[in-house]
Symmetry: C2
Subunit: 179 residues, 2 copies
């Protein structure tokens, strides 16, 4: 099940929680994994964190804010998963490219609900800055790996853009159809 955020957060009962923000994101991930996105509920996350039903509002504004923050963490984990996969593999351009794709798909499988959520939230009008930044970091990893394979900076040439689109589309579509 990978590294659920919940493992690193202790939920206690002080009035001032200390790190309620993290605790709520962790609770949100568990809720999402257990109940799916349809039955996701802010109040249930609050209950899970032993906190009143209106507490999340102060940290995240509304429900979309919490899911936005969770998505941002998801992209962070996606980057980590890809990099770990690449590190473990042979350091030739071809193998590095392939293993980045493997990492991408592996993340999608191990975090199905989160994966879907991320790409629902990414291109939203009110996406947060940290969400966009983390998503761009993931994108850069892909660009780098292609650059080392083809030997040119892919964003500089029209063909490079096509390469990226084709590859990302293939990997993303594959992951999406798998789950």
């Amino acid at each position: 099940m990978g590294d659920l955020l919940a493992k690193n957060v202790d939920i206690d009962e002080r009035y001032h929680h200390g790190n309620l923000r993290l605790a709520l994101i962790a609770a949100a991930e568990l809720e999402l994994a257990e109940n799916g996105p349809e039955r996701f509920s802010l109040r249930a996350c609050a209950r899970r964190a032993n906190v009143s039903h209106a507490a999340p509002a102060h940290h995240f504004g509304d429900a979309a804010g919490l899911l936005d923050a969770l998505s941002a963490l998801g992209f962070e984990r996606l980057c980590k998963t890809i990099l770990v996969e690449m590190e473990a593999a042979e350091h030739t351009p071809e193998v590095q490219l392939a293993s980045s794709a493997v990492g991408y798909v592996r993340f999608a499988i191990e975090n199905q609900h989160l994966f879907k959520l991320m790409f629902v939230n990414e291109f939203r009008p009110n996406a947060s800055v940290s969400l966009i930044l983390n998503a761009e970091r993931a994108f850069e990893i892909l660009v780098d790996v292609i650059a080392k394979q083809t030997g040119v900076a892919p964003l500089k040439t029209p063909d490079g853009w096509i390469d990226i689109a084709a590859l990302w589309a293939a990997v993303h579509g594959y992951a999406h159809l798998l789950i």
Copy 2:
């Protein structure tokens, strides 16, 4: 905006609506297009069809049932869009394959919310029979078009499966990243 279902349905005020089922699906599509999936509400669909809040239950069971039916209609329209695109193009195997992909992507763009909904609902435990059938019909179109390109029945050979997966993944991923 393509052919919204709502155009073909007249909403009047008899007690027995006549074709409330269709009217509700049409209303659901409009609601989805206007408010997005987050704010989708059964009761709002009922209001739009000038019908009491509990009327949908009798036709669709619950909210998922209505969205399931809408998804089924979505796949029907997807097939139609692809076939129209293919018909308008040159009838050589290559061009037919390409134009089926164009139709696929065009549908995704013109029916963004519906497109997403369809692939959320397709592989669900309780998907309806008609939904599955319509989705399979769309799949068959793809298989046919590949068969005519490669000259072999793609489902019979392992390489054929890989061709299909690669192509669908590419087209689907491309469409998904576009919207």
